[in-house]
Amino acid sequence: MAYSYQLKRVDFIFRNENDWEKVLSATIKKKPEELINELISSELKGRGGAGFPTGLKWKLTAESKAPEKYVICNADEGEPGTFKDREILSKVPYKVLTAMAVCGYVTGAKQGFIYLRGEYKFLEAELYKAIDEFQYYCKEIDLDFKIKIFMGSGAYICGEETALMESMEGRRGEPRNKPPFPTQAGYMGVPTVINNVETLVHTWTIFKYGAKKFYDLGVQYSRGTKLFSVSGDTPKPGIYELELGMSLQDFVYEFGDGDTKAVQVGGASGFLVPRKKFKDTAIGYEGKLVGISLPTGGSMMLFNSSRSMFNVLDNYLEFFREECCGQCTPCRVGCQQLLLGIKAVKRGEKPASYLNKLLKLTETMQLTAKCGLGQSVANSFSSIVENFREEMIY
């Protein structure tokens, strides 16, 4: 069967460019407002998964009159199936550092941090080398901006921005109530821009090539490119930069092993899409194009028909139960009960209708949990249980 499909491969992020000094000095000659407008018109949205408009984030922080501000690069990449940030930091660290310094220039922050997850400690020495070289150049052009690495110690929840700040302040990584948002009161209570590693690299692309070049890629509401971490049952696992807005069907044609049963989009906190819905699913931020549109931090895990979806869900729930910070009851008790619940149904100790009760529990968690972790357990749980109900029971 001939099926013509289009997946647009792009190469911006890992393009080897040795001109960061030029880009940095040219960019900071422009006015901060100009740079913010450039970012806003590019429609760049956060690439960590939540999709907040980056230009707006910088603008809000820039507008604050606080004497001290911070820039944080979130490299606590813990979502199962995501491994793009490590690749960026090891291959093109200077792009990240440049983007952080520009962010500091735009917002008025003098200090930047990279929050690096403990699992990536082997990157620390190399990264410090890059930082030293970078700081040396900053001094030369009279740019007052320092960058430090803060090492995490193995906690998925610290990828949540306010939990990350708690952790940097020397406390348990428990998410804060929002508002106030980090742009108002972040690290040490002062306005803070916190961006994902990949988001920062995209700002580099925008500052170097202009917003239009970025805007012209992708589709409406989902502009630009995105790094996808492809793993699972695929003949070519790895990291790929693709234009946003592709249909999942096209993705599976390219990366599937011919027997793809389902794809998990967005990691354990994302959605499972079964084969019959591939055609109707697009990858991008909200906005109705082809049926449903799913955002993702870049994690794409493929499962073929040899996999039991019960085992997949069981693995996710165990992950959430362990990584839940334990602060709020819906998530702490919810994750435990969901895990016990599906096991009881599988063993026949509870009737199949018990699954409906568990689905209701995830709805409650979605409404009442304090942070994104507890709220998003419902995503994978309901998409797996609803689409593969019989596998949960027999």
């Binding site: 997850r117 110690s153 952790s167 020397g170 990584g173 696992p237 990291i239 996710y316």
Partner: protein
């Protein structure tokens, strides 16, 4: 001053004594001692002037801040979905068989501790494991024997 006290004092001098330096100080102790004993946590609390309960509370939150005695080499095998699909169990069996310890245990010679951990971020090269800070990917049972032999033969 005993060695732990002076280690903690040096770390506190290096990073500072305010609360936001608690994690770097604890990480420094782990680097040297492999785990945070009750004694080191109390010493950290005294040195940095923080309630000991707060130090304990913070330490126990993070999975890489061990509070139980651990061996010289901490093996962390990734158990999240892709690694689980690509042979994590065979890898664990091979390690258990070779070191004669189960998950969560430390070998009698205090050389190895075996643990499972959540996603290490190497899903495209599964299964993955960490030995202290060193990463090993696409580890087959055969390869893990070679890797561990290397650590076993290392002096002291």
């Amino acid at each position: 001053m005993n060695p732990i006290q002076s280690l903690i004092r040096n770390l506190a001098n290096q990073y500072g004594r305010s609360r936001e330096n608690l994690l770097p100080v604890m990480q420094g102790v782990i680097q040297q001692e492999k785990f945070l004993s009750e004694y080191s946590m109390i010493e950290i609390a005294r040195e940095m002037d923080i309630p000991a309960a707060e130090v304990f509370g913070t330490a126990t939150f993070y999975s890489f801040l061990e509070t139980k005695p651990a061996g010289k080499y901490i093996i962390r095998v990734c158990k999240t979905i892709t690694c689980a699909m690509k042979g994590k169990n065979q890898l664990l069996f091979a390690i258990q068989d070779m070191l004669k310890i189960k998950v969560g245990e430390t070998s009698p010679d205090k050389r190895f501790t075996l643990l499972e951990t959540n996603c290490l971020g190497w899903c495209h090269k599964a299964p993955a494991m960490l030995v202290n800070d060193e990463v090993y990917t696409e580890v087959s049972p055969e390869r893990v024997r070679e890797i561990l032999t290397k650590y076993m033969n290392e002096n002291n």
